[in-house]
């Protein structure tokens, strides 16, 4: 029996009179990569925002390691080891790579005169992390994010999640706006994350990408879970597509 890491239990969310999520239950095990699929408006983003603390749920419980937790904001989620990487990476383009990596959790150096940053450590760790996530180019950690390509930015965001030992990394459309090679890079990170003991939730429009890396697929349709145990090795892309749209496989 695999160990359960995170469980969202019967989550409901209304926007006005529209029910965005209807008793949705989702669980992720340790070292598991879950693909979350669904059409536009199916509730994927809403569900993820609740888990990452960006939106409150109207009802339902969240358990981490079997303990019931309250996630009121993104800081709470990060403290529980849940890290979300959004489409736009949520990096500060004016700041350097190292400063972005440690933003909000800066290492300090004594004497603490006005909370002095330990910039040597920051740059050192940043340099190592960039290598780990597969950036082969020699990029100094003091480079501002604005000088990086889309794939390199994703890599920095992923490096950040890995460094702070997030147990669960949520990737929301990480391959949008990326070139072919950069996309392969991101997918490689996701596989690597499992090997280094992280769990992932991968949200993507592109089913092919999801099929390449995940262990299990969950499908949402109109705010309901319609499938939560699809093994990508034992099904076809067409079959999953028909579950997403709710229409039988057309001829």
């Amino acid at each position: 029996m695999p160990e359960e890491l995170v469980r969202m239990d019967r989550i409901n969310k209304f926007f006005g009179r529209v029910q965005a999520l209807n008793d949705v239950t989702l669980s992720v095990n340790r070292n598991e990569i879950v693909g979350l699929l669904g059409d536009n408006g199916a509730g994927k983003s809403t569900l993820i925002k609740i888990l990452s603390g960006a939106l409150p749920a109207d009802s339902g419980d969240i358990f981490v390691h079997g303990n019931r937790v309250k996630i009121r904001n993104t800081t709470d989620a990060m403290a529980l080891g849940i890290e979300t990487i959004y489409q736009d990476s949520a990096l500060i383009s004016q700041l350097s790579i190292a400063r972005n990596l440690f933003l909000g959790r800066e290492p300090l150096k004594s004497p603490r005169f006005f909370d002095r940053l330990d910039q040597d450590t920051m740059n050192e760790v940043a340099r190592k992390l960039l290598k780990q996530v597969g950036i082969k180019k020699e990029i100094p950690p003091t480079t501002p994010i604005s000088a990086l390509s889309g794939g390199e930015r994703q890599a920095v965001a992923i490096a950040r999640a890995m460094h702070f030992e997030s147990e669960l990394i949520i990737l929301d459309e990480p391959t949008n706006n990326l070139g072919v090679e950069e996309t392969q890079g991101v997918l490689r990170f996701v596989r690597g994350a499992r090997d280094s003991g992280h769990s992932c939730i991968l949200i993507a429009h592109n089913i092919y990408h999801v099929f390449q890396v995940v262990d299990r697929i969950i499908v949402l349709r109109r705010g309901k879970t319609v499938a939560d145990d699809i093994d990508p090795k034992r099904t076809t892309i067409e079959a999953v597509e028909s579950i997403i749209t709710g229409m039988p496989i057309s001829a």
């Binding site: 990060m78 500060i92 004016q94 700041l95 400063r99 933003l103 006005f114 002095r116 940053l117």
Partner: protein
């Protein structure tokens, strides 16, 4: 660079420019505007700005001297009350901007009028006497001393000290990281646990307090607290900060750049008068420099992006 060219040009045109008397003169007034620009640099790096600095500059010394002249409180207490008043102004600015989400342009424009209005109302438009006082506090703030022919005010030393501390805070400290993040991408910064609201309010307070301190410095030096002093400073201060390379949109700024910006504009004002250009033409040059700097920035930016 520009500063060096400027100084060289003025020195050649007018021998008086490099005279001890003139330099003393230049260094007497520069720290007062300079202190405001330091706070403004941090505030603008965090993506906000403050138009009420000139009013606070004018009103803070009035509080101090009115309390003193009416024998309500000793000078030191008046000094503290004036700075506390600045804290309240900064807090109010910050609260309106962060909690009510009103653009800082509108909030601080309103505050500019309110504070200036109070200053005029309280004093009936008349300056407050300051020459009757002789307190050690005044020596500490602006006491003057001579190095050879050069007269130096203590305010210059305070300005240098503040500049070093704030420059350090901006580039070396955690607070500096937060300031830049708050201006660069507030949503992303908040998502990382940066207390953006707190950072911005603290900077509004810092800017107001530095403006008040600068106003008090000025009132002691010129021996008068005029309710109209500081009028128009807000734009001059912002011009200095922008010339120093701080982005008007936030996220990027340096203290050393601002100090250079202050010196460029102050030497320019001083120099063009000495070489015989009418002082009234000063604004033409300031405006011209700002436009030229902005053009240069955008050109560098575009060249930078073309390269990546």
């Amino acid at each position: 660079m520009l500063l060096v060219v400027e100084i060289a040009a003025f020195s050649l045109r007018s021998p008086a420019f490099l005279s001890a008397g003139n330099i003393s003169n230049l260094l007497a007034f520069t720290p007062e505007l300079g202190m405001i620009t330091l706070g403004m640099t941090l505030l603008m790096t965090a993506g906000e700005f403050d138009l009420s600095v000139g009013s606070v500059f004018g009103f803070a010394p009035i509080i101090m001297w009115t309390l003193y002249n009416t024998h309500i409180a000793p000078l030191e207490v008046g000094f503290v009350v004036a700075l506390l008043f600045a804290v309240i102004v900064g807090l109010a600015n910050g609260w309106f901007v962060t909690y009510l989400k009103i653009p800082s342009f509108l909030v601080t424009l309103g505050m500019l009028l309110v504070v200036r209005g109070i200053a005029l109302y309280v004093t009936d438009g008349f300056p407050q006497r300051t020459w009757t006082a002789d307190a050690p506090l005044m020596k500490i703030v602006v006491g003057e001393f001579a190095i050879g022919d050069l007269y130096i005010y203590a305010s210059l030393l305070w300005f240098i000290l503040f500049a070093i501390i704030l420059g350090y805070v901006l580039t070396e400290s955690k607070a500096g990281n937060w300031i830049q993040a708050a201006g660069g991408n507030p949503e992303a910064a908040r998502a990382r646990g940066v207390r953006v609201t707190y950072t911005k309010i603290a900077l509004f307070i810092l800017t107001a307090v530095l403006s008040a301190y600068a106003g008090i410095t000025s009132s002691i030096r010129v021996s008068a607290a005029n309710p109209n002093s500081g009028t128009g400073y807000e734009l001059e201060v912002i011009a200095m900060v922008v010339i120093g390379g701080t982005a008007l949109t936030g996220g990027r700024g340096t203290i050393i750049g601002t100090v250079i910006g202050v010196l460029i504009l102050r030497t320019m004002r001083n120099g063009i008068v000495l070489i015989g250009v009418p002082g009234l033409a000063y604004n033409i040059f300031v405006g011209g420099i700002i436009l030229a700097m902005m053009a240069l920035h955008s050109w560098l930016e575009r060249r930078h992006h073309a390269g990546t």
